[in-house]
Amino acid sequence: METFLNIDLRVWWFLVIGAVFTGYAILDGFDLGAGVLHLFFRKEESRRIALNAIGPVWDGNEVWLVIGGGALFAGFPEVYATVFSAFYVPFMLFVVALIFRAISIEFRSKEPMLWWRLTWDISYTASSILIAGLLGVLLGNLIQGIAIGPGFVFQGNTLDFINPYSLLTAVTTIALFSLHGAIYLSMKTEHRLYTRVRLMVKFTSRMFVLTFVTLSLVTLIYIPEMADKFRDYPVLFGIPAMAMLSVFNIQRLAEKGRYSLAFVFSGLTSALLLGLASLGLFPVLVPSTLDPQYSLTVYNAASSFPSLKIMLTIAAIGVPIVGVYTTFVFWTFRGKVKIDEQSY
């Protein structure tokens, strides 16, 4: 067993992948959320501003998903293989939704016809909802576990993934992203549109609190294992406590009109919730519903130590670079949106 700073390399990889997917949830979260809310803007100009608010950053945000997938393949190839095979159909739908979302953003303003723009607006919102929903379904199923048999082979079928719990996580994810997106838009808009966005922040934050509280209760009642670790190490209760505080802080800050800070807290909420889920599972990555011995864990699903070592070095160089240019793009395009001829 090899370690770095006294921590097992496999645990390091768990942290790296967790960090990258959290980054993805925070970054793509707000532009997906903006997409979910898109149809609620009535005027053509409002829609263009909302679209151009995420215009310079949405594709860069999706890079984090690519890094996450790559990191998962490098660090835990068994998880990559099992999960991608098991969720084959949902992932295909996910990819199609990503394609449609991208072309909706690119194509909608290329033609002036009303029907053309409306078609792409609908496609944009529908694909954003589908992407957020599928991510939620995936998360819900990973928390509950899937039917993994001997040799890490998935034995269930696609329809298993649609169940009350995963639908609840899907709705929660959509609500969280919408809130996150609404707060982002409030930093980017002015005048009457800004007033409208403020109402959206209010509405989405209520929706999110409602779904979040429901989800927490349902999890504690039906999947009590998730709370085991917290009972063993009461210090860890700090995390759900912080998540709760963070959620209510968003509402407080939004009411005061301090949207930049509210945005930080809605990002933090995403991070804490993902942290909560992965900590609840750790060291398991994908629980098996058939037999715990078939579960994929940090220890039985990892690559060999030499691979982990090389890839960790690469990640240590690559991830900060992406972090720096992401920050750079956000800094360049800070402030309110102005439409010009380069806009979408």
């Binding site: 053509e44 263009r48 159909v89 199609v96 002036p112 029907w115 439409i339 001829e341």
Partner: protein, 235 residues
């Protein structure tokens, strides 16, 4: 620029071929339909592989494959016979044809661009209407060469997915059903067909629109106003 890129392809292609000779000798042999292991390697310009008789009919430069691989016209190249039948690609003719088409397209592009350079140097390039016509169609050629090369590379590696280590038949996922694969295949065919139509439509529009006038681009406020108005106008 295009001439430079086309000629550079020659060198990059050559070094790739040497890599293949070193690491995937069966694939190289299949590219040229080279069966006999004791024979020197010939380089075919075009031809046809008779898979039954394990012979190639066509026009070749004798020993050229050996020369390109080993800088020696006389050195034999390991042929398909060196490898057990189970470890060779079955459709040698397909690999041969796609590979040669790719190379032929590459050569044609080099010829075309050099010809254009010649006319350019003489200051008569834009008077050669016939050449301009060819170039309009030639936009598709690199894409075709790319796809053909992909076919020969993938099919030429069979039955391996990772050469010498993992067979394609062992690399299949055990939990993904044929139905699911059909689903995704049909789904993506439809998506890409739609994308292709949209692409043609928008590209055509862009070409017809032509390059932006300088005055127009400088006048940003006017331009964006026009955009917003056209979007609001009821049809």
């Amino acid at each position: 620029m295009a001439a430079l890129a086309a000629v550079a392809q020659l060198f990059s292609g050559h070094s790739s071929a040497r890599m293949i000779a070193a690491y995937q000798p069966t694939k190289l042999a299949a590219f040229e339909g080279h069966y006999d292991s004791l024979a020197i390697g010939d380089l075919y310009l075009f031809g046809y592989v008779d898979q039954q008789k394990e012979q190639v009919h066509g026009v070749s430069i004798p020993g050229m494959l050996s020369f390109l691989t080993h800088d020696d016209f006389k050195k034999p190249i390991p042929g398909l016979h060196t490898f057990p039948k189970a470890d060779r690609p079955k459709t040698v003719n397909f690999v041969f044809q796609t590979y040669h088409l790719m190379v032929a397209i590459g050569m044609a592009l080099i010829g075309l661009t050099l010809l254009a350079l010649f006319f350019w140097w003489r200051g008569k390039l834009f008077e050669q209407r016939w050449l301009m016509r060819i170039f309009t169609v030639a936009v598709l050629l690199p894409q075709m060469a790319n796809q053909l090369g992909w076919y020969s590379s993938e099919v030429g590696r069979q039955p391996w997915v990772v050469y010498g280590m993992l067979r394609t038949s062992d690399a299949l996922s055990r939990s993904v059903t044929a139905g699911q694969v059909w689903f995704s295949l049909i789904l993506f065919t439809l998506v890409y067909a739609l994308l292709f139509v949209l692409f043609l439509y928008l590209l055509n529009k862009k070409i017809k629109h032509g390059p932006e006038d300088l005055e127009e681009t400088e006048d940003i406020p006017e331009y964006s106003k026009r955009y917003a108005e056209s979007g609001n106008s009821p049809n």
